[in-house]
């Protein structure tokens, strides 16, 4: 989760945290962590009722096939679109930061090859890679923080300089990022230690949320919310001004590439997993192979960066609703219909 959430800094929408909430962005980010923990508990409450099945399998039985399947397709689509947006955001970032002469599609193609191989390696490969990359990612953020030349606590004042109205969209955006944890609904049957899923999931959400908060604070303390809001990628400017390495932002490209790869491959893998669970005869690997060029096609639809950013902001707005509503509805109906848990339905599972 840490690696996946760390790519939030690559998103142009990260600067919206500064634009909307100013110095007070830490408040909705903190609340988003609380929301994330509650969301994990909601997801696991649902998953534990059907421990041997994924949401693609039990949703149709709980809600009926006419409602159940489309809801899961909607959930799968959110992951698919996340992957597509991650591809676009990452490509824009690299082109702007280090490859100004390179066409965006070339950058995209490299990432497509990587993601294809990741999906071919399946979940174990992605998870093991994540295990290796996460310490590097965390270490680099700490390094940036230590190396940031000017950290001024006064940049945090006044606390709510943009008022209260900007806090809600920040909360929404951050919660939407944290809501990626809904992948649990697809992978719960494969967990080795499902009893500890709640504890582990909560811990990961807290860690990821704290990382987001940490990055936000680093940006504000270094640049201030006014300057940060004026930049497309404020955190990139922070990395350009560290005393450890002169103009070392290129070195951090390694970290961004890792993070972007993890997020994109993870989102597209989850989408492919969902589809293969909806249609059991279809191989996950081949679904992934088909999804990747589709995602890259979608990623290139917005003509320019402002359009891409606007599309992403819109996506984030509705994704939270979808990812919150679907598990709640399924759980509610499962409780009302007494399906799952210790019921006869569970026995037949």
């Amino acid at each position: 989760m840490i690696s996946v959430l760390s790519t939030s800094v690559l998103q142009p929408s990260f600067r919206n945290f500064l634009r909307w909430a100013g110095n007070g962005g830490w408040l909705p980010l903190t609340l988003a962590i609380v929301f994330g923990v509650a969301y994990v508990w909601l997801l696991l409450s649902l998953a534990k009722r059907f421990p041997k099945q994924s949401v693609a399998e039990y949703s149709s039985r709980v809600l009926g096939p006419i409602v159940g399947y489309p809801l899961v397709v909607l959930l799968v689509a959110t992951f698919f679109l996340r992957g597509a947006f991650a591809l676009r955001n990452m490509s824009e970032f690299f082109v702007a930061a280090i490859l100004p002469e390179t066409p965006i599609s070339a950058v995209l193609i490299v990432m497509i090859v990587l993601v294809t191989y990741a999906i071919w390696s399946e979940l174990e490969g992605i998870v093991r890679f994540n295990e290796l990359a996460t310490p590097l990612i965390i270490g680099s953020f700490i390094l940036v923080f230590i190396g940031t030349m000017r950290l001024s606590i006064w940049n945090l004042l006044p606390v709510l300089n943009k008022g209260m109205h900007g806090l809600l969209p920040v909360f929404q955006s951050a919660s939407s990022d944290l809501a990626i944890v809904s992948y649990i609904l697809f992978i719960y049957p494969y967990l080795v230690d499902p009893q500890n899923a709640a504890r582990v999931g909560s811990r990961h959400i807290v860690n990821a949320g704290l990382l987001l908060l940490f990055i936000y604070m680093n940006t504000v303390l270094s640049l201030g919310s006014h300057i940060g809001a004026a930049l497309t990628w404020p955190y990139l400017v922070v990395t350009e001004n560290i005393w450890l390495v002169e103009r070392g932002e290129a070195l951090f490209m390694v970290i961004w590439t890792l993070a972007a790869f993890i997020k994109t491959s993870f989102c597209l893998y989850t989408a492919a997993l969902g589809i293969s669970q909806l249609i059991p005869k279809v191989s996950l690997k081949w679904v992934g192979i088909v999804l990747i060029p589709l995602a890259s096609y979608l990623a290139l639809i917005p003509d320019d960066l402002p359009s891409a950013v606007a599309a992403y902001v819109l996506f984030n707005k509705y994704t939270l609703f979808i990812e919150l509503a679907i598990p709640m509805v399924i759980l509610l109906f499962a409780i009302l219909r007494r399906m799952g848990g210790n019921s006869r339905e569970q026995t037949s599972n």
């Binding site: 490859l99 950058v107 990587l114 890679f129 290796l132 490209m253 590439t257």
Partner: protein, 568 residues
């Protein structure tokens, strides 16, 4: 190398007719069926008639000039015909002559005794009295006898007996035990394997004198019938692992196993990976250490390299001498070695990426110096790098093939002259020569030749990616390599263990070499049956405390004088 199965055995006389009719050379004939069909046609117990036996065995063994049929008579009064069958050059003729032939031919008077008339009596006399040899076996069928003759045994067939005596008289010229050619150490044993399997097994057995140490013999290769041995500790090695190794070896279907490398290629998990999944070594101490960890070793006759499985990436990076020297020093050396590995794979790519895409990272003075050095060079950094790397690879390959005295000279002179001449001619910059030299030295610091080879190959695609996309491309290439490594397995063990999946106890022997007293656990990634190397309570500090508490005294000798002073 093929796994094709034959279907129709071709009778020998038809094959002879085809050859006479002038069948084209090189046309595919299924020689497996030809040879084995002939031998299998005589798959029965041998006759009591020595003439018939000799005729059949002459046919089965062919017309090779090195197959000797030595006819003798046992006893000195023409009592009993017999024949020795052996292959010249593979058998200890002196001991055969001294211990068997002379007694049989000259001194075997008992054979003339009237009581010795039945085959059982002859057999008893031969096996219990005349054949004063340590290894004597009895074989009954023609295929068994043929196999034993070809396996360098001496066979004795006596008229009247429908069995053959197989005498273990193998002896042939072989290389003496010497220093390992490719794994030199500053400190440590200097014995290396040679080409004899039994000698190699004995070298390992000398180091693991445990009753649970098992040696299982196998024969591999349809025609070479190469002797191989599986070595492991029965109470330590995971039985699933041992069974899996045996299963994979049993599946090998090939004409000949000429080196352990053949076996490695058949049993590895992913043959298309550039990374080795089975370790090989010339050192018996390394094999012994691996066996003590719960791994399985495979020794093959004719090869001085023993295989060890499973093998993870962290097994290829340490050298044996890491465990013979002090832990602090060796930890530093390991860090240097890891840096060398990264250096050898990344340095040329970083040079290209920084020069072409990220000049801002390089300090101003250095970038000016590099720009000045590259002023007259007509090629881009990428082309320059490829030219120099390729040239160095050529020199390295040429150096391997040449005789030792010339090779070192060619290496030094060629490297210096070519490098200097190229710089003088303005084809490459001096910085590039330094980069290539450092890269090469970095690859030499990797203890395992096969991993170093993988690194050498992977360097080129990374250079290409760097040239196209800078650090982004280099990172992408690195991600591909790491993704491949995390999915690679060696006999079910993840290749990056104990780093991914993380095993804290295993980290005491990766980049950091923990003190010996902290190596209480065997590597858990191999799932040994017995995970403790030593008693859990054993520790350096406990031992030191015990010495402090109880003192260190030597009891006085019988005459009352203490041998050494005491210290507390």
């Amino acid at each position: 190398m093929g796994r094709r199965q034959t279907r129709y055995p071709i009778p020998v006389n038809e094959l002879a007719k085809k050859r006479k009719a002038g069948q084209a050379e090189g046309e595919h004939t299924d020689t497996k069926t030809t040879t084995s069909a002939v031998v299998e046609a005589y798959d029965r117990q041998i006759s009591r008639d020595i003439c018939e036996n000799v005729a059949i065995l002459e046919k089965l063994l062919g017309n090779s000039d090195d197959v000797i049929f030595r006819h003798i008579t046992i006893g000195n009064a023409n009592q009993l015909p017999a024949v020795f069958i052996l292959i010249d050059g593979l058998v200890d003729k002196d001991s055969l002559q001294e211990s068997v032939m002379t007694p049989l031919m000259l001194w075997a008077k008992e054979i003339e005794a009237p009581a010795v008339t039945t085959p059982e009596a002859i057999r008893h006399l031969m096996s219990e009295h005349f054949l004063s040899f340590l290894e004597v076996k009895e074989k009954l069928t023609y295929p068994e006898i043929v196999a034993d003759v070809l396996a360098a045994e001496a066979v004795l067939i006596v008229h009247g007996l429908n069995l053959a005596f197989v005498l273990g008289a193998k002896k042939w010229e072989h290389r003496a035990i010497s220093d390992p050619a490719t794994e030199n150490l500053v400190r440590g044993p200097r014995e290396g394997f040679n080409e004899l399997m039994k000698v190699n097994v004995a070298l390992v057995r000398r180091r693991v004198k445990d009753p649970q140490f098992r040696v299982k013999y196998l024969k591999l290769g349809k025609r070479s019938v190469t002797d191989c041995a599986l070595l492991y500790l029965e109470d330590v090695a995971n039985p699933v692992l041992v069974d899996e190794v045996k299963r994979r070896i049993d599946l090998i279907n090939i004409d000949g196993i000429l080196d352990s490398g053949y076996i490695e290629q058949f049993i590895q998990d992913t043959p298309y990976s550039p990374f080795p999944q089975v370790q090989y070594t010339e050192r018996p101490d390394r094999v012994a250490a691996a066996i003590l960890e719960g791994r399985v070793a495979i020794v093959s006759d004719g090869s001085p390299n023993a295989l060890i499985a499973p093998a993870t990436l962290t097994n290829f990076l340490p050298a044996p001498e890491d465990y013979y020297e002090r832990w602090l020093l060796m930890t530093a050396i390991r860090i240097v070695r890891t840096a060398s590995l990264l250096n050898s794979i990344l340095l040329p790519s970083l040079y290209i990426a920084f020069l072409n895409f990220h000049q801002e990272i390089i300090p101003s003075r250095l970038v000016l110096a590099i720009a000045g050095a590259r002023a007259g060079v007509p090629f881009s950094a990428v082309v320059e790098a490829f030219i120099m790397e390729f040239t160095f690879e050529l020199l390295r390959e040429a150096g391997i093939r040449l005789p030792a005295p010339i090779a070192s000279t060619i290496g030094i002179v060629g490297g210096i002259i070519i490098g200097q001449a190229a710089v003088s001619a303005g084809l490459v910059s001096p910085v590039m020569v330094i980069v290539v030299a450092l890269t090469a030295i970095g690859s030499f610091a990797i203890p395992s030749f096969n991993v170093a080879l993988s690194i050498r190959i992977l360097r080129f695609p990374l250079m290409l990616l760097s040239a196209m996309f800078g650090l982004y491309g280099l990172t992408a290439g690195g991600i591909l390599i790491v993704m491949h490594l995390v999915t690679l397995k060696s006999f079910g063990v993840p290749y990056l263990s104990p780093i991914a999946p993380l095993t804290l106890s295993g980290l005491t022997d990766t980049m950091v070499r923990a003190p010996a007293w902290q190596h209480r656990l065997r590597p858990l990634m191999f799932r040994p049956r017995n995970k403790y190397r030593s008693a859990p309570s054993t520790s350096y500090f406990q031992g030191k405390r015990a010495m402090h508490e109880h003192g260190f005294e030597v009891a006085p000798l019988a005459d009352g004088a203490a041998k050494e002073g005491s210290e507390t």
